[in-house]
Subunit: 359 residues, 2 copies
DNA sequence: TTGAAAGCGCTAACAA
DNA sequence: TTGTTAGCGCTTTCAA
């Protein structure tokens, strides 16, 4: 019924509780014989140390807390958009922490709450996690970082934009991904490739634009002003952007939008104006949201390595999880640890057939 | 730095730690003055009790563990299908537990592991959660239920099929939902409505079929053998089903598939045979998976109240969370607590225009 | 290489 | 109505 304690194990092994503790913690100076007996007893009793007792006694906690933004999450949930990001993040973290017998706790934080600092400090005091995984927008919330620093709790920040020296930073190479997508479109024969930006306030959006420009330039292609439309990451801004391109007779053969929502807007806007995708216009997005796969045509896009970023974060938060290569690698020079993205080639972008250049 | 303890609060309030404890636990026999002073001190110090110390000292734990199936979850993740189910479940549970200052821990369990019982018992021993939320297929795993019973830990089962007297059972009314969808199609003027089943082994599938038959019968409509095709919840079985209907000249005007994957198969199969949806054939699904909304046409379906089921489960696991009505309600007579589903009317099913009956 | 004892921050008996 | 004291199951000094 009531489960075994360290005393039961010690008794069964004919040893002291300290010896059991030593064995379980992998401390040095334990005879093989003792270790053997202890492990046998542990096995026989199905014993597992209480995380509460361990935490209380001062051992490092075995809990990793994922702090996700309440407002954003609830908003996604309400709107029926789902929380693909959240579940991918969790899966990535879970797969890693369980290898080290750690546990994942999910906490909602109100990034806009005036009592944020207090609430968070209290939360951290009551949980005392081994480490914390921060997602946007909390990755860049100074109040959150301060609370964590004060509590002396390690943290990993997913997709941070500022102060990259604080905590462990994990991200994807936005610039390079955008470069790759642009290069892919160029390989497909496109020359007149337009770009729809996100809000300038987002570093990610700025880097994607950089990647696009760099790829174009390196392939000897121009990116005149009218190839770049200002968007804001919304579907509507995609619709507006393509309408603008058409109205101004920019004559593009491909449009690369800096996120999927916008790309979906481009898709629909193009269709509304009688352009077929991908025959008349190729469209590419960025993010690989759930809707991308189901769009018609399925959207060619960049898959954000959300799970991999979380896994990377977890490996850096829990001792013993890093691969040798990772452990040996020098800390990223003033930047983030990078997780590999994926170019999802689907149906919305195709090779340019040498007949037309519309839009 | 290091956070306040109950001693600090007691000192600041000029009281004993027991008094602080009493106030915090809302015990009776505390003078208003004392309560006042204690709360002020708590407030001033930003104090929050350590969950470890509380748990160790024998207080009920404040952790709710969600046990999700490892294999299923990883498989969903790998296949890129995502885990909408998981994130909806978590959101529902999170929103509730945080109201009572509880925490959500997510654990993966290998339902097929031979060491399941041991592993789970060890896990429960080390965490000692206040309660556990079980998702399919673990909701019906006797080994899991036994381990929980032995550990004396309360649990709620989402969508269980057997032994409904064990633990708190939470589900949706599958039969009634299928009835409603069928009735909806009938209201739209359809008379020749086909049905594609899921695997007979699933109780949910059987109940959906019952609901369909009941609605048809109550509206004086026949459901001859050839109106019902055997499926297995896969996309492919939907394709096969519609092909069968067409080949056998069943002349249906609507097809109700017992899950979304199957319905999507029907959609595609119909299109491949030159049937337009919804003009020539109305199609309805069941589940509201992420793909349903993005399908072309968007799938009319039943939305499983995953978040609501999890919320209901959480409310029954954490004391003080039940609404008065819920607390007063008699336990469901040998069945499950029911969460309200939703009929998502989208574009794949339309009113029957009186010209044709195809397929 | 091993063990005895103290204490982590709480709650729960038991007194006062 | 309040306070004192003894644990909960571990890890951590400190000795042996």
């Amino acid at each position: 019924m009531s489960s075994a304690t360290i005393y039961d194990v010690a008794a069964a092994a004919g040893a002291s509780i300290k010896s059991v503790s030593r064995v379980l913690n992998g401390e040095a100076n334990v005879s093989a014989a003792l270790r053997e007996r202890v492990m046998a007893a542990v096995e026989a009793l199905g014993y597992r140390r209480s995380i509460s007792a361990r935490a209380l006694a001062g051992a490092a906690s075995s809990i990793i807390a994922a702090l996700v933004d309440a407002e954003l999450t609830i908003e996604h949930w309400r709107s029926g958009r789902g929380n693909d990001y959240l579940s991918r993040l969790e899966m990535g973290a879970l797969m890693e922490v369980r290898r080290a017998d750690h546990h994942l706790m999910v906490e909602l934080v109100d990034h806009a709450s005036p009592g944020l600092k207090r609430d968070l400090s209290a939360l951290l005091a009551s949980i005392r996690p081994r480490g914390v995984i921060l997602t946007p927008p909390n990755s860049d919330n100074a109040v959150v970082l301060d609370a964590l620093d004060e509590a002396g709790i390690a943290y990993a920040r997913i997709g941070p934009e500022r102060d990259l020296h604080r905590g462990v930073c994990v991200a994807m190479d936005e610039r390079r991904a955008a470069y790759d997508m642009t290069a892919y479109l160029i390989e497909q024969g496109h020359r007149r490739i337009g770009f729809v930006t996100g809000p300038a306030a987002y570093a990610a959006s700025r880097r994607r634009l950089e990647g696009y420009r760099a790829a174009m330039a390196e392939h000897g292609l121009e990116t005149p002003e009218d190839f770049v439309a200002q968007g804001d990451f919304t579907f509507q801004s995609g619709v507006a952007a393509i309408a603008g391109f058409i109205d101004r007779r920019t004559r593009l053969t491909a449009v690369f939008a800096s996120n999927d929502d916008t790309a979906l807007g481009v898709l629909q806007g193009a269709a509304a104006r009688g352009l077929r995708t991908p025959q008349d216009l190729s469209v590419a997005g960025f993010d690989d949201t759930p809707g991308a796969m189901f769009a018609t045509p399925a959207l060619t896009t960049i898959r954000q390595p959300v799970a991999e970023m979380a896994a990377l974060a977890a490996r850096h938060l829990v001792p013993g999880l890093l691969t040798e290569a990772e452990a040996a690698a020098a800390p990223p020079s003033g930047g983030c640890l990078l997780a590999p993205y994926e170019l999802m080639v689907r149906d919305s972008a195709a090779a340019l057939t040498p007949r037309r250049s519309r839009s």
